[in-house]
């Protein structure tokens, strides 16, 4: 038994190491936030039901689009357009569910009909998936560089979102249709959906986004690690030429990876926009693409491609979110949060690649030649 655990840890060294890092972070945060009279476990602010519920909701949203970006990274690509695409899709989603009169005045606002929210969700998923597929065709078939293609996406979707919203905030509250079910499914908990808001039980602490993430993770794990498509994704990321010589349509494999990323982004965009209650197009989802890349890299995806796993990406996402929560709870100034996040990622990756000697090597002088 112990033996098989050791073997497993050896085979998944990166994931195990990052799980260790996560454990350390959780311990520090738990101990660091102990205060008399707090209702959480061990009197820790970190372990209160409300905080954990919030964490789970955020991990759910970030995890879903990080899985998409992670899959793209495994094909040796990159997707920088996630955050901007979420802003644009957020604006479009709210246009769909609000009456035309309440929208900011723009061509897009005038052109989009008001539909019931399930139809709006459907269209958002379709648009996101198509945008992803377009990125994929440009990268996989036309062999444009992924960085450039998605960088253009990053700039243009953000610009379009701001333009079509007249740079003003679009609110969920403007909807005249009944969005209570959408709210429950997007921002509520499993308990809310099953038993309504009245009762408060255990399941009321399990956010729906977290449930979605679990579903995404299970499906993605099976697809990536057990299916033919998954094998092709890894093979293409490792050595596209050799894969092509084996008769695999590598351009299409790449296109499908971006399509998956587009779908994941679109799926995450909806609960995120319901959660925030409004879309401020200039800042909505800003830097999300970088959090996704950070999560994937922390979780063992190599930017050179061909390496990574879904459990790793989940652990990476969790580390990021816990870190930010830690900065908040422990009373560090919020602006410092990104700096601390950056530092921890760096140390994590350095230690992972070089062990503790990494630091020494970084500062070691080369001996002069004789």
């Amino acid at each position: 038994m112990t033996n098989s655990i050791v073997n497993f840890a050896n085979q998944h060294r990166r994931e195990t190491g990052m799980l260790g890092l996560l454990f350390i972070l959780v311990s520090i945060t738990t101990i660091g936030t102990i205060e008399e009279g707090i209702e959480g476990l061990f009197n820790s602010m970190f372990l209160t039901p409300d905080n954990l519920k919030n964490l789970a909701r955020t991990i759910g949203i970030y995890g879903i689009f990080s899985i998409g970006v992670g899959i793209v990274i495994i094909t040796a690509g990159i997707d920088l357009s996630v955050g901007s695409l979420m802003a644009l899709l957020g604006v479009i989603f709210l246009y769909f569910v609000t009456p035309p009169g309440t929208r900011p005045d723009s061509a897009l606002a005038r052109g989009i009909p008001e539909v019931s929210w399930p139809v709006a969700v459907f269209w958002i998923l379709v648009i996101g998936t198509l945008v992803g597929f377009l990125h994929g065709l440009l990268v996989g078939k036309l062999k444009l560089q992924a960085f450039v293609v998605t960088l253009c996406g990053l700039l243009s979707y953000r610009g379009l979102a701001r333009f079509y919203a007249n740079d003003t905030t679009v609110n969920v509250g403007d909807a005249s249709q009944d969005l209570s079910m959408a709210r429950k499914l997007g921002d509520g908990s499993l308990g809310d959906v099953l038993y309504g808001n009245a009762e408060k039980g255990m399941l009321h602490n399990v956010p729906m986004t977290f449930i979605y993430l679990i579903v995404f993770a299970v499906v993605a794990t099976i697809v990536l690690h057990r299916s033919v498509l998954g094998r092709y994704i890894f093979a293409t990321g490792r050595n596209e030429l050799a894969t092509k010589y084996s008769g695999v349509n590598t351009g299409m494999v790449i296109a499908i990876a971006y399509l998956i990323a587009g779908f994941c982004t679109a799926f995450a965009a909806i609960p995120f926009c319901i959660y925030t209650g409004s879309v401020q197009p200039a800042t909505h989802g800003a830097f999300f693409e970088l959090y996704a890349i950070a999560a994937a890299v922390l979780g063992g995806c190599s930017l050179r491609g061909g390496e990574g796993s879904i459990p790793g990406i989940l652990i990476g996402t969790t580390i990021l979110i816990v870190l930010r929560n830690m900065v908040n709870l422990m009373g560090y100034p919020t602006p410092l949060s990104d700096a601390i996040t950056g530092g921890v990622i760096f140390i994590g990756v350095l230690v992972d690649q070089h062990g503790a000697t990494g630091f020494k090597r970084l500062f070691k002088r080369k001996p002069k030649a004789a």
Binding site: S246, N249, K366
Partner: protein
């Protein structure tokens, strides 16, 4: 300089190996793949550090901790894979990393002037400002040597320098090596091509399994003696076999195929089932490009490929594979294998669909069973089928490529340089496999620059010259001279 001794204990590459070389001496270092030749030379060249042992240069104990230490001691290394930057010109490559400066900027004029004499010594008639990309591989190799000379090298290590050279380039290189020796420069020459070794070496040092396996002096050098040292047993020489197979005519025909390298040439030929067609020619004659066009990776401009009378869709690898046309490419590491993948995953990559369930999930047990079957029947030397291909020797890697195709239903297999960089023992095994395939009725199209191989394995030979087939030889007309004659253009047409 003499008495370069090193010791190496333990599991890795080398065990107490001793090696010495004198001024102006040309020593050939031979051994099967994995015998430790490259490791030994990497230690001398400063790439690796020995765990134990001493190095002496010119009677002085020396510590070589880095490549720059090695350079300072006069050790130059010409690697098998050229370490040149083809976006820079000749001079810039020669002086890379130690550019002479003027006012903080690179002094281009001085580079050109300083480079010229080295090029002259090597008989390389190009301007130092020619971009490297415009040179042939042979010329690029000379630039590497010029680089070593310009660093004032006293010992030049050449790791398989001729593996991608044409015959005449090889001749030229051997002459240069000879001249270097006469000028007092010691040359360590690593090669699998025993004919070349025979031609140029003053002494032969053989390694086997990381140990010294013996030495031969000039007068003792001959093919059989070298093979004996390398493999530690007598080996049957490449048998020139007589084909007794029944040929299934016109299994595979290529008609009017135009590839991107020579867009104005149309090539047509056919291979019968059970026949091994050797395709000889100089490097750059367009053979690999033709194979890639036929296979569909590099779509042909025109022409078609037929298998058993059915014509294939042009430019689709998937289609070719479905029809039973497979390619074992020249560059195993880049195009033949996904190196970091396990043997299993490499073997099933082209036929993954047949291991998948309805929902596209892979049946891992079936996959592993097939891979293990191939490992066993091809006698791939590996701890298990889960070993990554990168950890195998060249010969075993080639067998994995073969295993990939044999696990399917081959009708035609194109071998592009099937034994490039593979040691003698493994070569013979590959030849046996090729023949066995032919006996099963598979049509074999074998591209090779190795004369012995083309002559020993083929049933019929076609020779290419600048994108066209310049001639065809039947078994009774086989001969090195006949091939060379056609390879350089053949009879005027």
């Amino acid at each position: 300089m003499e008495n370069i001794t090193k010791r190496f204990p333990g599991v890795v590459a080398l065990e107490q190996v001793r090696f010495e070389i004198c001024e102006g001496e040309i020593v050939a270092l031979i051994g099967e793949n994995g015998a430790g030749k490259s490791t030994l030379m990497n230690i001398l060249g400063g790439v690796h550090q020995p765990d134990e042992g001493e190095i002496e240069v010119a009677g002085q104990a020396a510590k070589i901790r880095s490549v720059s230490d090695a350079n300072a001691l006069g050790v130059g290394f010409v690697h098998q894979e050229l370490n040149i930057l083809d976006n820079l010109d000749v001079g810039a490559n020669v002086y890379l990393g130690r550019e002479p400066r003027r006012l903080g900027l690179i002094n281009r004029r001085k580079i050109a002037a300083d480079t010229r004499p080295y090029l002259e010594v090597l008989g390389l008639d190009v301007d130092p400002e020619t971009p490297l990309a415009a040179l042939s591989i042979g010329q690029q190799q000379m630039v590497e040597i010029a680089k070593a000379l310009s660093k004032d090298a006293k010992i030049i290590i050449m790791d398989e320098p001729t593996s991608s050279l044409t015959l005449s380039e090889t001749e030229r290189l051997l002459e240069v090596i000879h001249d270097l020796g006469k000028n007092g420069i010691a040359v360590i020459y690593i090669s699998h091509r025993l004919g070349e070794v025979n031609q140029c070496a003053d002494r032969v040092v053989a390694l086997r399994d990381g140990c010294n396996a013996g030495e031969l002096r000039r007068e003792e050098i001959n093919h059989d003696a070298m093979v004996r040292l390398m493999v530690g047993r007598d080996l049957e020489r490449t048998p020139s076999h007589v084909s007794t197979r029944a040929l299934d005519s016109k299994r595979f025909t290529v008609s009017n195929l135009r590839s991107s390298l020579y867009p104005n040439r149309k090539v047509s030929f056919e291979v019968a089932g059970g026949e091994i067609l050797g395709m000889a020619g100089l490097v750059g004659a367009g053979r690999s490009e033709l194979a890639q066009a036929a296979f569909g990776v590099d779509p042909p401009l025109e022409g078609c490929v037929n298998i058993d009378g059915a014509s294939l869709k042009r430019g689709s690898v998937k289609e070719s594979i479905r029809a039973g046309l497979y390619l074992a490419p020249e560059d195993r590491k880049q195009t033949g294998l996904v190196l970091e993948f396990e043997i299993i995953q490499n073997i099933t990559l082209a036929s993954l669909g047949s291991y998948a369930s309805r929902f596209g999930l892979i049946d891992r047990d079936a996959e592993r069973a097939e891979a293990e079957r191939q490992v066993e029947s091809l006698r791939i030397k590996t701890p298990s089928a889960c070993t990554a291909a990168i950890n195998l020797s060249g010969g075993n890697q080639q067998k994995v490529v073969l295993g990939k195709w044999l696990s399917m239903n081959p009708k035609v297999i194109i071998f592009d340089e099937p034994t490039r960089g593979i040691d003698v023992g493994a070569k013979n095994e590959i030849y046996k496999l090729i023949r066995k395939l032919a006996e099963r009725g598979v049509a074999i199209w074998m591209i090779s620059s190795d004369m012995e191989e083309v002559l020993g394995v083929s049933d019929r030979i076609v020779v290419m010259h600048e994108g066209r087939i310049s001639g065809e030889l039947q078994r009774d007309a086989f001969g090195e001279e006949a091939i060379m004659h056609l390879a350089v253009g053949g009879p005027k047409t």
